[in-house]
């Protein structure tokens, strides 16, 4: 019998995308351990930053550092953790308005139970030691003072 022919099939998405001047800057900032927002024409700061103003559609360009501390605007509790998320244990999910920003961003809340969470509480960013320019370079947010 003839030798069977074999070939590997790798299912892949063999393209790279540029993340552009605004999202790219934000992700690069994360790699450096800083969080960037972007200033709107009215002077307020959007974080996470968008390339265009959500109301007027004007291009936005002025990046501003915000955080790493902020206020918890809303929260929920995720138990069990979702299998593809960056978190492998029950955690909070929050809307966090960072100092200097007018809008909140979504991220994880690293506490041991929902009774440790309250709207209006102060939280601060916890960074991963190895960072690659990805939203999960932020491990999540912890109550202010928890990491000191």
């Amino acid at each position: 019998m003839a030798e069977r022919l074999r070939a590997d099939l790798v299912l892949e998405y063999p393209f790279t995308r540029t993340t552009g001047p605004v999202i790219g800057a934000f992700l690069t900032g994360l790699r450096e351990g800083i969080i960037l927002g972007i200033r709107r024409p009215d002077g307020t700061v959007l974080c996470p930053p968008t390339e265009y103003d959500p109301e007027s559609s004007e291009p936005l360009t002025e990046l501003v550092e915000v955080g790493p501390g902020g206020e918890l605007v809303s929260w929920t509790w995720v138990d069990p953790p979702r299998s593809q998320s960056p978190w492998d244990r029950p955690h909070g999910l929050g809307l966090i308005r960072l100092d200097g920003a007018a809008t909140p961003m979504v991220h994880g809340l690293l506490v041991s139970g929902p009774d440790e969470l309250a709207v209006g509480m102060r939280v601060t960013a916890r960074w991963r030691s190895e960072r690659e320019g990805h939203i999960a370079d932020l491990e999540g947010f912890v109550p202010e003072g928890a990491d000191q």
């Binding site: 809303s74 979702r82 593809q84 960056p86 809307l95």
Partner: protein, 351 residues
Amino acid sequence: MRDIAVVSVAQHQEKALTHTTEVELMVPLINQARGAVGLTQDDIGFTCSGSSDFLAGQAFSFVHTLDAVGAVPPISESHVEMDGAWALYEAWVKLQIGAVDTALVYSYGKSSPGSLRDVLSTQLDPYYLGPLWPDAFAMAGLQARIMLESGAVSEQRLAEIAVRSLNGAAENPLAVRSSAAATVDHVLAEAPIADPLRPSDCAASADGGVAVVLAAGDRARELCDRPAWIKGIDHRIDPHQPGVRDLTRAPSAHKAAAQAGAGDDRLDAAELAAPFTTQEHILEVELGLVPETAVNASGGALAGHTMMAAGLMRIADAAQQIHDGRADRVLGHAASGLYLQQNLVCVMEGE
């Protein structure tokens, strides 16, 4: 503008269509919708469908489903990767252009092979939100807490909406979650699933499909004793990032309702495609619904949420009430995206 009406509807929904393909699901529905008004595919001027390759797990999956329509000899056909309500909008535009007098619109979704609340993470932006895989219930939980803390709604009101759905669904054989006996106290006693949301606040996901026939002018009068005339239809969208929006509101729903003339006269019934009680409450406010309007007599999307079809099903439910003579003026609503980001409103009247 041409007078255009929904003249026939057919739908099916159940908890999981495990052994039924999309084609097998749609063949009887499409035959039923066309057959009820005595049409074959040869009589249909334009065909438009709505579905999702993400749910089917295959690119161009809608092409397979055309087998349920019959595409030989060739037909004039289009597809939207959206809820079928937007396919209906495209067909309505096509009929307005005037080259054809009839259209077949259908949509379907099977989300049971996966976990819909997780799959929905893939509709989020791929940089800030998607990589965190925040599931749909958790995202809705964030909105719910803002609504409760700001006083935009009360837990009591959310439970009332859940009970309205559970009770209404008891009369609807297509609902997948119902309870004639449910009360506000029962719902308030449920443990949270995405604090502060309880299981009854979150739509029960379902598999299903719906087919609708549209016709213009005298053709509609020939085909149907009491056509559901589309008096206004409009769709609008809000920004995607949750942080830039007031999560207690849905301005695009308000605008679509105003453009569709929802408030120009009394509405007998409204069918809303809200996947959460919080969002059903927002819609009642944005659409300006009054207590005299029967909201979600079918149980609405809460009683069975077929992804990609829940909106067209609401329009079909509303149109059916005109066909049956149960109502004279109705509203069907469809939504898409995070926090009711995109909304479509269709106002229909009988003669």
